[in-house]
Amino acid sequence: MKRVAVVGASLAGVRAAQELRAQGYDAGIVLIGEEPHLPYDRPPLSKAFLAGTASPASLELLDAGDLASLALDFRLGVRATALEPSNRRVLLSDGGSVHADGVVIATGGRARTLPGFEGAHTLRTLDDAVALRSSLVPGVRVAIVGAGFIGAEVASTCRSLGLDVVVLEALAAPLAPVLGPSLAAVCARLHRDHGTDLRCGVAVAGMDAAGVHLADGSLVPADVVVTGVGMTPATDWLAGSGLKVGDGVHTDAGLVTSLPSVVAVGDVARYHAGGTGRRHEHWTNASEQAPVAVANLLAGRTTRTYEPSGYVWSDQYSGTLQLAGHPRPDDTLSYVDGDPASSSFVAAFQRDGETVGVFALNNAKLFNRLRRQALRRPATV
């Protein structure tokens, strides 16, 4: 291969470029990114960066040394508009195109928006975070739609800035479909303990200058409205490529698409393993998929398959939440250390007598020990 085009210049794209070099590929790498910024990390956007304690420079994924050693041909501020496999070309929004023998699709996703919520903030990009940050001036009342990871983190950061926060959640408890009822109750407690007005089982209808209107006709007064209702995989540019897309780019268990010269990584990759398609929207997944996808791209066929660790973290209020494995909400939960009322605990999800997941609040050491032992995660070295 003489040239690889990596489309999407965020975590998954950067990790793919690093892996190409680490696995001995020494020809051209073109890194195409729609955002004008050098690759940066997203998790701090809802945490330290939004709070104003982390600088934009601290978010950068590559330092000057990495930039020099990776020798990437950056095309930033340009969108890939089409993939033409027959010509081996990626077309660009500036009218140009890139000829590439291999393509890594790493286009992640865009924040979902809600009808009737024009003018609400979303939080996916650095520019989104800058805009939201500038509206969080003292005294504003914040309403957040959605109590998932991002909604909860934004609520937490807004509280740390001393703002009044209401969180409106459609489910009966935050994150219940992921964590199950008892841990969802813990998440609800974190909100309450820190003065956030969490309202569950609420249907929103729309917003205007007065605030958020609910389906029951009532108004939640707010000056700043944030919607945190998930993301949509960025696959629009692949229409007409012949690749199968639908809630992400479809790949085999090794992240290879129907074309051996095209792989997908990160939030956009919908890989098929054991008959089902799965997609993850977490940092560690984007990072860990890169070595597998790149190995298969360089081999020209699927030689390795991806084993997700299911690792996710979230920082909410005074707590660091950590989850690993693939629990279901109906698994049996047992507390290995502490209990749901404590400020630090570790819990294990069990199914048919086997540990299938580990969750911790502020107990990283025991969490990692259990995750290694119980989930037999292969060593990273």
């Binding site: 975590l11 950067v14 990790r15 990390d41 994924l61 330092d63 940092w283 560690t284 990072s287 690792y311 973290w313 660091t320 950590q322 990283a364 050491k365 969490f367 990692n368 020990r369 290694r372 060593a379 990273t380 070295v381």
Partner: protein, 106 residues
Amino acid sequence: MIRACTVDELPPGESVRIPGAPAVAVFHTEAGELYAIDDTCTHQDASLADGWLEGCFVECPLHAALFDLRTGVPTCLPAKEPVRTYPVLVDDGVVYVQGVAGEDAA
């Protein structure tokens, strides 16, 4: 130089956090080597003494950046800056860490 612990208190595969400014983490690898580094991960504020020890690398307990105990250099994201390393000395069954701030005058 600060006294960390006795050798008996730190069996192979274990680590200990020595509070201070900065806090220091001392590791005893399965191979029997002793290493000391700054305890606080350069990415956020995790305690590396809580991390997973694998050979002469420690994996940060929060986001899995891997630090080489010999050099303090992270070998993968999300950490980018190295942690400081300190020489370790064993005398009469006691583990000491050299060069930790505060003992410069000596």
